[in-house]
């Protein structure tokens, strides 16, 4: 679960492109960005 991942994770919108079209999803990204 996300709760067990800890505080170093942040939510972000990720753009995905497929042959059927583009869309965005909400994913968790590790805080390596920091």
């Amino acid at each position: 679960s996300i709760a067990s991942v800890g505080q170093k994770w942040e939510q972000k919108q990720v753009q995905i492109k497929t042959l059927e079209g583009e869309f965005s999803v909400t994913m968790w990204s590790s805080g390596v960005d920091e």
């Binding site: 170093k8 753009q15 497929t18 869309f23 999803v25 909400t26 994913m27 590790s30 390596v32």
Partner: protein
């Protein structure tokens, strides 16, 4: 130069070394020959007994500080390879296992089917955070085996990716950043003379691979192949260090004059580039100190499989000690003394081996069961007080049987496939796969000479594979 005939693991072929130029200019080409480098195969990685030491256990390793966040369930984008509908098709995959820097990936849509799983280097350019393909204008295309499973992959991906974890967008730049060395070719350092360990020499960095430095000794003969060590190794020091602490050094007259005057040039590596020796909090509060003649136990610098009875031969400035192993043949030349810092994790109080069930190499000529009590009485010496030793044992995560990559410190050019054979507090006994136990090496868990599985691949350093037929010593 070795008191005992220690046969070292050698690669099947030794690449020719470039000829050292008199003024120690960097060689024109890399001395690392990657031909025949060992790759951790699927049979290794998927063996039910295989367990790699986690990257986060190696504090000096790239990405170590954030590796705990890399775990099974994470989604990435990766080239489909043979499964690709087109040559350069990418698809989303889930990390199903991690071993060092390597990750086993399963393409989304394969559910429980592991037949197309692939092992990749997680830090390589073939793996990307989810969303990378879109930024490149590339559509994600499902692998050929599962292409028929869904009519609308968009809906499938939306369901699979929402709320899932992926790598940060700047992951690759962080990887590159964490691999950068503080050193550059051309810098001068002081380093232990590999041919006479009691003295230092001046050397120039000629190559840096994965923070391992190739050094050429000044004044070395043309056929000398130099020396490799990690930039955090305790055997390299800034220009002027030997003079500061009172260590013997072989150098030109002009070098000595430079150290006296303190007028260094831009190619002399400054102190801030070197690893800081950790000083335990209680170190300065102790009223006792090491003194000449004190006995202790120490890892034999010329045979790292042995922990031996040893003597403090000289106390240098800044808490450096010259230690001699008592089992060496006596030659009265001081050539086999070796410098350890008082806080080194490679020296131990008398009784350490007995307490940890480790075989202690007794002094030369000692017959029968070794007794510290009798030996101290016989030599009229005192044992260095246990309070002087740095024995902090943190929870380091290394476990017996775990795989890693380790430099062979008897020939530190070689980084070999290895396993943790024993754990004694913070001390690890590293076993080189396929080699007899005589070649094992005692190494501190914090040593910069041990690396996670996949480090060589990631760093462009040659990895020596296991030896199938170990020679008898």
């Amino acid at each position: 130069s070795k008191p005992s005939q220690v046969v070292q693991p050698q690669p099947p072929t030794v690449p020719p070394e470039p000829v050292a130029s008199p003024n120690c200019l960097p060689p024109p080409e890399s001395t690392v020959d990657l031909e025949g480098t060992f790759s951790w195969s699927v049979s290794y990685l998927e063996d039910s007994n295989f367990k790699a030491v986690p990257v986060s256990c190696f504090r000096h390793a790239p990405m170590s500080e954030c590796w705990e966040q890399m775990s099974a369930g994470m989604k990435v984008e990766v080239a489909c390879g043979e499964e690709g509908v087109t040559k350069d098709a990418f698809w989303v995959a889930t990390v199903v296992a991690i071993a060092g820097y390597k990750a086993k990936l399963r393409f989304e849509g394969f559910v429980e089917d592991s037949s197309k799983d692939i092992w990749v280097d997680l830090c390589s350019e073939e793996v990307h955070p989810v969303g990378w393909c879109a930024t490149q204008g590339r559509p994600l295309i499902p692998p050929r085996t599962i292409q028929h499973k869904y009519r609308d992959w968009k809906e499938f991906l939306m369901r699979r990716l929402t709320g899932a974890r992926t790598l940060p967008t700047n992951f690759m730049s962080r990887v590159v950043e964490s691999q950068k060395s503080r050193f550059r070719p051309g810098l001068n350092v002081e380093v232990v003379d590999k041919n006479r360990i009691a003295q230092m020499r001046v050397a120039t960095v000629t190559e840096v691979v994965g923070k391992r430095l190739h050094l050429r000794y000044h004044g070395a003969p043309p056929d000398d192949n130099g020396f490799w060590c990690h930039e955090d190794a305790p055997i390299i020091h800034p220009v002027g260090w030997s003079r500061e602490v009172g260590h013997e050094i072989v150098a030109s007259q002009s070098y000595h004059e430079k150290c006296i005057s303190g007028t260094y040039d831009p190619n002399d590596a400054p102190p801030e580039l070197f690893a800081i020796t950790p000083i335990p909090s209680n170190f300065h509060s102790s009223k006792m100190n090491f003194s000449e003649g004190m006995k202790l136990e120490a890892i034999d610098p010329l045979n790292l499989s042995a922990i031996c009875v040893a003597t403090v031969m000289k106390v240098l400035h800044n808490n450096y000690l010259m230690i001699r192993i008592d089992s060496y043949e006596s030659d009265n030349t001081c050539s086999d003394w070796f410098c350890y810092h008082a806080t080194s994790p490679c020296i131990f109080p008398a009784g350490f081996c007995e307490m940890n069930n480790i075989t202690l190499t007794p002094p030369r000529g000692y017959e029968g069961q070794f007794s510290w009590f009798l030996y101290l009485k016989k030599t009229q010496a005192t044992a260095a007080p246990p309070a002087l030793f740095y024995r902090e044992v943190p929870s380091h995560g290394f476990e017996e049987g775990m795989a890693l990559e380790s430099a062979d410190l008897m020939d530190p050019r070689l980084v070999c496939v290895a396993k943790v054979k024993q754990v004694k507090g913070r001390l690890l006994k590293v076993h080189f796969d396929g080699w007899e136990s005589d070649f094992d090496q005692w190494i501190d868990y914090h040593s910069p000479d041990i690396y996670p599985v996949g480090w060589c691949d990631m760093s462009g350093y040659r990895l020596e594979g296991p030896k199938s037929q170990a020679p008898k010593r």
